[in-house]
């Protein structure tokens, strides 16, 4: 019976931590996927924007003592604004170039370094942490997780639902998809592509900022906090089939649970290597990702 109990508690622990990780990856990867599907570029500054969101929330809610709601709103506004600036300064000037993907890898990567070092200058090297949104613990499948983590688990799918509905039903959402599918025909329909790119970037960055605020309460905030989640989110987006929202969700839960399982049984040391191994294996079998087209 000992063995069965052990297996069950292992399963519970893996399930709970896998769910938390997956939910975080969904939030981060969704923004990345939105920009990819609209502009066809990877925004390497996405993780750094997430970090700035966490720092701004810390300044407003803890340093200035204005409370968590104000902190969240400020973080969303700041990250959306930085997203728009990244788009305007680091992406739009090169959009007409044929090797746009490579150029924007370099420009957004330098944007990421700029943002990380600015964060270091502004907020200093001392690590910070946000307060949890909800106090206390929640029992999930027999394992205790913090209320904050429960909020993350619940909010992530709701945000995906909201994003999906926005892209599917609103005029602006439809126009963003239209620009992604056929820019010239969109222009001839009276849609202004530059505006749609800016909106897509702002939403993407706000999602990153939100993820930063969530993450900042369960991990310590440092200028490079965003680097690791960014890599995971990129795996998620590529794995899911670039830009497809259902694919991104599937990819996020696969990567999150995979990481939890691997961390439990193989240890954190091997997890990263394992993840890339599985990632490459899947891409060999399905080069366009799990739900990618063509």
């Amino acid at each position: 019976m000992d063995f069965a109990d052990g297996a069950l508690s292992a399963f519970r622990a893996v399930f709970a931590s896998g769910l938390v990780l997956s939910s975080l990856y969904v939030m981060i990867a969704a923004g990345l996927a939105l920009v990819w599907s609209t502009l066809g570029i990877f925004n390497f500054a996405h993780g750094a924007i997430m970090v700035i969101g966490a720092y701004v929330a810390w300044t407003v809610s803890i340093d200035l003592g204005l409370g968590q709601v104000a902190g969240l709103v400020a973080a969303l506004a700041a990250s959306a604004l930085i997203g728009v600036a990244v788009n305007r300064l680091l992406v739009q000037p090169f959009l007409a170039q044929p090797n746009i993907i490579l150029i924007t890898v370099m420009t957004t990567l330098s944007g990421a370094f700029f943002l990380e070092n600015s964060a270091l200058l502004i907020w200093g090297p001392r690590i910070k942490q946000l307060e949890k949104i909800v106090d206390g613990n929640v029992f999930l499948a027999g394992t205790a997780i913090s209320g904050h983590e429960a909020v993350i688990i619940v909010v992530a799918p709701l945000m995906m639902l909201a994003l999906w509905a926005f892209l599917r039903f609103s005029w602006t959402g439809k126009a963003i998809r239209a620009v992604a599918q056929n820019r010239e025909f969109a222009e001839l329909s009276g849609i202004r592509p530059e505006r749609m790119y800016a909106i897509a970037f702002a939403i993407s960055a706000a999602l990153a900022g939100f993820a930063g605020v969530m993450l900042g309460a369960i991990r310590f905030i440092t200028p490079t906090l965003g680097a690791d989640p960014l890599i995971k989110a990129m795996i998620v987006v590529i794995l899911g089939g670039l830009g497809s929202i259902p694919g991104t969700i599937l990819g996020a839960y696969l990567v999150g649970f995979g990481e939890a399982v691997s961390t439990y049984f193989l240890g954190a040391y091997w997890t990263q290597a394992m993840m890339f191994f599985v990632f490459i294996l899947i891409l060999v079998i399905r080069p366009n990702g799990l739900m990618g087209r063509e």
């Binding site: 005029w171 439809k174 126009a175 998809r177 239209a178 599918q181 056929n182 010239e184 025909f185 969109a186 222009e187 001839l188 329909s189 009276g190 849609i191 202004r192």
Partner: protein, 238 residues
């Protein structure tokens, strides 16, 4: 004499450093339907792309309903009611016919009339009503062309410019589209059409212009596009 609704004056443009239009001038007068004809690669599509704002003019001027629209963005020009239906379009491949049409009336001033306009489009192309939920990429070439023209109509055009609307279609579909375009003209929408088929243009338009090497070569009145002119255009016989 009233101002023409579209006036292109001494237009020069091209791709990279290669000019394609060498000072082309052309007018669409109030009430007329103008057809453009001429060999491939001589600037008809480039003219349309420049008029609708997809390409920049290097020099010259484009005026629409008395306003200088040279250098405006494509979206701004579409909002003013000069709507370009491009050639062989793949539309928005992942969207339904219905969504695609709705986006044709994107600018806020046009959204209010969107539903009514869409009913009119479905009346002209009943087949689109049947396929309204279908994704654009699953449509046949003819249906796709109907959606493209439908999207143009959704933009509530004063002048609709059609670039080879029957390219690659069967004779039967071609006839169907010709009748549909005829019906559109009867509702009072002015058209400017590029076509390779002189018969098609003669049936639909009141005046034809022959474009060669980026310039207007000949101006014909209704129905006078003669046989030997055609032979000369296409086979170089004099």
């Amino acid at each position: 004499m009233p101002e023409p609704i579209l006036n292109v004056d001494d237009l020069v443009t091209g791709y990279g450093r290669q000019p394609v239009l060498h000072g082309l001038s052309l007018s669409v007068l109030e009430g007329e339907a103008l057809g453009l004809i001429g060999p491939n690669g001589h600037g008809k599509t480039t003219l349309f792309r420049t008029v609708s704002g997809l390409n920049r003019a290097w020099s010259g001027q484009i005026r629409f309903m008395g306003e200088d629209i040279t250098g405006l963005s494509a979206a701004q020009i579409a909002e003013r009611g000069l709507v370009h239906v491009p050639q062989g379009n793949r539309l928005f491949p992942q969207m339904s016919v219905e969504d695609c049409l709705d986006l044709g009336a994107f600018s806020p001033a046009k959204r209010d009339n969107g539903a009514a306009t869409r009913d009119r489009v479905f009346a002209i192309f009943p087949r689109l009503a049947e396929r309204r939920k279908q994704r654009c990429r699953t449509l046949s070439g003819g249906e796709r062309q109907m959606v493209a023209i439908g999207c143009g109509l959704m933009g509530q055009p004063k002048l609709l410019i059609l670039d080879e609307p029957t390219l690659g279609l069967s004779p039967r579909l071609k006839g169907e589209l010709r009748d549909a375009i005829g019906a559109i003209i009867e509702t009072g929408v002015q058209v400017l059409i590029v076509e390779q088929d002189p018969e098609f243009l003669r049936r639909l338009t009141t005046r034809q212009v022959y474009i060669e090497e980026g310039r207007v070569r000949e101006d014909f009145d209704a129905g006078s596009l003669e046989h030997d002119k055609m032979m000369e255009m296409y086979f170089g016989l004099r």
